[in-house]
């Protein structure tokens, strides 16, 4: 892109100065003149501008982005929107169905629920039975009488923090590993790939469980565990991209000019593969959310009474057939989050990859 823009510019110059005899003043030493600066700046802006434009053109990606933003907003604002806290229990008000002010008059979300007992189905509204006319649990309350609205959003917050942190750390480690392995090739590559094979060959459940057993359970441990399960994929992509690019002219040129290995890897090659990397990060966020959910189900998730989307789902799972409203909010938020991140990732991939653009 950069080269193309430059060519076009110089071509125009040549046409204009057809009958002009150059004088010495026309030639300047190459340096940081205003013109140069504007030129490159314009050129790079042009690329990212086009990426953004391409991204905006893809409606599904934009919808995905909007949802990611909305959920992120609620994840941080939702827990403080009512008087409840994520851990505050009220055993007298446990297992109440969703009830929302105003909407309750439509007959939906008015706090009633159908309980299927072994002797038949009965419809009850515990808000009336327990005489709580002014109590509202928008998403209902769980088996400790905690507000599911507050828990869902603070769960989303925890899940997002864990997933984004894991994805970023995993990007840094996986990317460096893959780039170094691909760049040096030969023996280095051989050794690094064998290590990777060993790391990948041990079932993740074993590594993750042991990690969570040995270290104190908590957010940081979960982030490390998630990172361990994801970095391999990232390093594969980085290595493959490096193998593609390292024989290209610009790398060769840089090396001829005496650039150091690290400079070539991180300043020359890295900017050229940032597209696939970002895409992979976007894809690994939903994977991390999902893996965290799995860990919660096995009992290795975030310690109680804190919650994540995954732990909420596995808590709600136990009352799936009794009080289904308890599992629905976290599932919907999680599905939406996964869907939106995937849509954004798809959009980004197509926006960043000019070859796909031509389709």
């Amino acid at each position: 892109m950069v080269e193309a823009a430059f060519d076009k510019d110089s071509y125009l110059h040549v046409v204009e100065s057809d009958s002009y005899v150059p004088v010495e003043a026309d030639f300047k030493l190459k340096g940081k003149t205003a013109d140069d600066f504007v030129d490159t700046n314009f050129a790079s802006q042009d690329f990212w501008k086009e990426v953004v434009a391409r991204f905006w053109r893809k409606k599904s990606a934009v919808i995905g982005l909007v949802f990611v933003l909305i959920i992120t907003f609620f994840a941080f604002v939702g827990p403080v929107m009512n008087e409840y806290t994520y851990s505050g229990q009220n055993l007298d008000q446990k297992n109440l169905a969703p009830r929302i002010p105003l909407i309750e008059y439509t007959g939906l979300f008015d706090g009633h629920e159908n309980i299927k007992t072994t002797s038949g189905t009965k419809t009850v509204n515990y808000y009336f039975e327990k005489q709580l006319p002014d109590t509202f649990y928008w998403f209902g309350s769980d088996n400790f009488g905690r507000d599911i609205w507050t828990r869902t959003w603070s769960g989303a917050q925890v899940s997002l923090i864990i997933a984004v942190a894991a994805a970023i750390i995993d990007m840094i480690i996986g990317m460096s590993y893959g780039l170094i392995s691909g760049y040096f090739g030969g023996k280095v590559d051989m050794v690094l790939q064998r290590i990777l094979e060993i790391a990948n060959g041990i079932p993740r459940l074993v590594i993750v469980t042991l990690l969570l057993l040995v270290f104190k359970p908590g957010m940081i441990t979960i982030i490390i565990a998630l990172m361990l399960t994801e970095w391999v994929g990232m390093s594969r992509i980085a290595r493959a991209e490096m193998l593609k690019l390292k024989e290209q002219e610009f790398v060769l040129a840089s090396r001829t000019l005496g650039a150091g290995n690290m400079h070539i890897i991180f300043s020359e090659v890295l900017p050229n593969i940032i597209g696939p990397i970002i895409t992979q990060v976007m894809f690994s966020i939903p994977t991390a959310i999902f893996t965290e959910a799995f860990l919660s189900f096995v009992g290795l998730g975030i310690p109680v009474p804190r919650c994540s989307l995954g732990s909420l789902i596995s808590e709600g799972f136990n009352s799936f057939t009794t009080h289904p409203y308890q599992i629905i909010p976290p599932i919907i938020v999680m599905a939406l989050l996964m869907l939106s991140f995937n849509l954004v990732a798809d959009g980004l991939r197509e926006a960043l990859d000019p070859k796909l653009k031509e389709m």
Binding site: S60, R194, E197, I198, N200, G201, I202, P203, L205, V206, I207, T209, L210, L213, V214, P286, F290, A293, F294, F297, V298, G310, I313, S314, F317, F320, T321, I327, I331, M334, A335, L337, M338, L339, N342, L343, D346, R349, K355, L356, E358, M359
Partner: protein, 326 residues
């Protein structure tokens, strides 16, 4: 497709054999390294496989002595490896006391492989179809629909699927058995296989779509089109075939994951497979079972990756495209 493979294999001959041999030897060393690491990891596990609460010191010492757990880790490792070559993976300490692990696994692994294989087949097939639909009807409502279906597949945990399916099709409609039964293996594998296939389906659909879009835009497809080949022929003879190779790469690790058993689905449907065994083994410190199952997982994983790599080496897409040109 197969005959191309063999032709290619023949033409590579000696070089190929050398390559395969080298890879197999590295694979064996990798497996040994994994076993050693597993041994070290087991030492880190808190607690012991025995009834900590009620045992006194002398009993615990007797138990450790009986199973040779009092010996240094290196000696334990060598004993284990030597016995492994004899086909002896030790005995279980806790899950099924004193049962040889080979016996335990021999009865359970086939069940996990069966259910996993069914899940992969269903998932890969439906995923492929969804992906193709999305790629050909790109940016239409079909594309969005396929995307949504596949994303739901990856975003709803399989245990939720499993329970929902069991409730609807097992309990309410009474179409399938809710629990795995050795007397009706096929019928009772339906629900677990379907719930397991969701993730594969979604991943394959997404990947197929991306690959097909890339292949359809490539130069040789334009060439084929300009040669006047008909739409269907292009798709199936050229595009799909080229898209399949990377899809298989994605599928391979999924196959290993599924065939070594899903603990969650096995737990819900009471399937006597190896997935639930691994989790129980980890939670009860049943070292030999953890090591044996992890080893089998690693061996399958490395084996399948090896096959995929060799396949890659043999059928280099560029070579084949050249052959197809004439």
């Amino acid at each position: 497709m197969i005959h191309y493979f063999f032709l290619a294999l023949l033409s590579f001959g000696v070089a190929m054999k050398k390559y395969v041999l080298k890879r197999v030897i590295t694979a064996i060393f990798t497996l040994l390294a994994i076993t050693l690491i597993l041994f070290i990891l087991m030492q880190l596990m808190p607690g012991s496989p025995f009834n900590d609460e009620k045992l006194n010191e002398s009993q615990r010492a007797a138990l450790y002595a009986k199973y040779g757990l009092d010996k240094p880790i290196v000696i334990q490792f060598f004993h284990y490896v030597i016995n492994m070559f004899k086909g002896d993976l030790g005995v279980s300490y806790k899950i099924s006391k004193n049962t040889p692990i080979t016996q335990l696994i021999a009865s359970r692994l086939p069940i996990s492989i069966g259910v996993g294989f069914a899940a992969v087949s269903i998932g890969a097939l439906i995923g492929l179809l969804l992906g193709l639909l999305a790629a050909f009807k790109r940016d239409t409502v079909w594309d969005t629909l396929a995307t949504v279906i596949s994303v739901i597949g990856v975003s709803v945990p399989s245990y939720v699927f499993a329970l929902a399916l069991s409730y609807q099709f097992g309990f309410k409609l009474d179409w399938f058995p809710m629990l795995f039964s050795a007397k009706d293996v096929l019928g009772s594998s339906v629900l677990p296989s379907v719930s397991l296939s969701m993730f594969t389906m979604a991943s394959i659909a997404r990947f197929t779509r991306a690959e097909m879009i890339e292949v359809l835009g490539s130069d040789y497809m334009l060439l084929a089109e300009s040669k006047g080949l008909s739409g269907n022929k292009i798709v199936f003879a050229h595009a799909l075939r080229n898209a399949l190779i990377p899809i298989i790469t994605v599928l391979a690790p999924l196959v290993v994951d599924l065939m070594t058993g899903s603990l969650v689905v096995e737990k819900i449907f009471s399937i006597p497979g190896v997935g639930s065994l691994l989790v129980n083994a980890i939670q009860s410190n049943d070292y030999n079972v953890v090591i044996a199952l992890s080893f089998i997982y690693s061996a399958m994983y490395i084996g399948i990756m090896l096959v995929v790599d060799i396949l890659y080496g043999v059928i280099d897409p560029r070579i084949r495209v050249a052959k197809e040109g004439d």
